[in-house]
Amino acid sequence: MAIEFEIYYILFILVIPFLIFSLIWTIFGLLYPLVFVWGIITSGKNIDKMIEDVNRRESETRKLRGKDPLSTIDGGYRNNVSDSGLVYASGVFGPSHWHLLIGWLNNLFGGSVTIFQKVISTGRAEVIQRLRENAIADGWDDVINVRIDTADMTPQSSQKGVKGVEVFAYGTGIKYS
């Protein structure tokens, strides 16, 4: 009796993960076309909305400070600085699968792939604006030595998973005495 019970127990443990995974992928397969169509309808509009939003916040910041607080130069020449510290902002952005399809078609004909450029530059503008907002929230007057990095979220070894890039901006916040 005891041995039989153990066999059932092992079978149970082996089967349950397969069942869960198959269930998840079945749901994914069923929902995919719906979400894809939803993406076709909304993704273009969403990018335009994001651009508008970023531009509005950027002009607000410029109005608040009178100028852009960010600069990429090292602040060695400044001598009236009382305090400094690291400030950073990041975001992960991906094109929709509809945009991937357009981009793939665009690739066939060559030239600039406008749709990816639009997605990534929007993400970058958003992250730079977040850096400005973080700096203001932390109480810095200016941000010097700003660097902007872009890292691929999808590893080269596997083509599974999400398609996206991570944009990361960092700099040194300074306070004038």
Binding site: I24, R78, N145, D152, T154, V162, G164
Partner: protein, 111 residues
């Protein structure tokens, strides 16, 4: 930001603005690998079809970066450094859904 509260100043400039560096103590670094649970991965997969920002991964990398910086600061504290200058960051995706964050800089003493 919380890593500056630890008593170690962190900047990514070569010099500390308004202060004088007296001694360099060597390279310090901190790294971390983090992943989200499957539920959030699946949600991100769906969000990826529609496009736009993947908030789950933004949060993931934000947490990971804070941890990497905290480890770098802890490394600097073992050297009795008062600041870490010229901080650089590196990101690599190991598999989809897990990311390695690496932060490094030079530990220094300033007056």
């Amino acid at each position: 930001m919380e890593q500056v509260v630890n008593g170690v100043l962190v900047v990514n400039t070569e010099t500390i603005p308004g202060k004088k560096i007296t001694e360099t103590l060597g390279v310090v670094s901190g790294s971390t690998v983090r992943a989200k649970h499957v539920g959030k991965d699946i949600f991100a997969l769906f969000k990826n079809i529609v496009g736009g920002e993947l908030t789950q991964y933004t949060d993931l990398l934000q947490e990971a970066r804070q941890e990497a910086v905290a480890r770098m600061v802890a490394d600097a504290m073992t050297l009795d450094a008062t600041a870490v200058v010229n901080v650089r960051f590196a990101t690599s995706a190991i598999t989809a859904g897990a990311a390695e964050l690496f932060a490094y800089g030079t530990a220094v003493k300033y007056e």
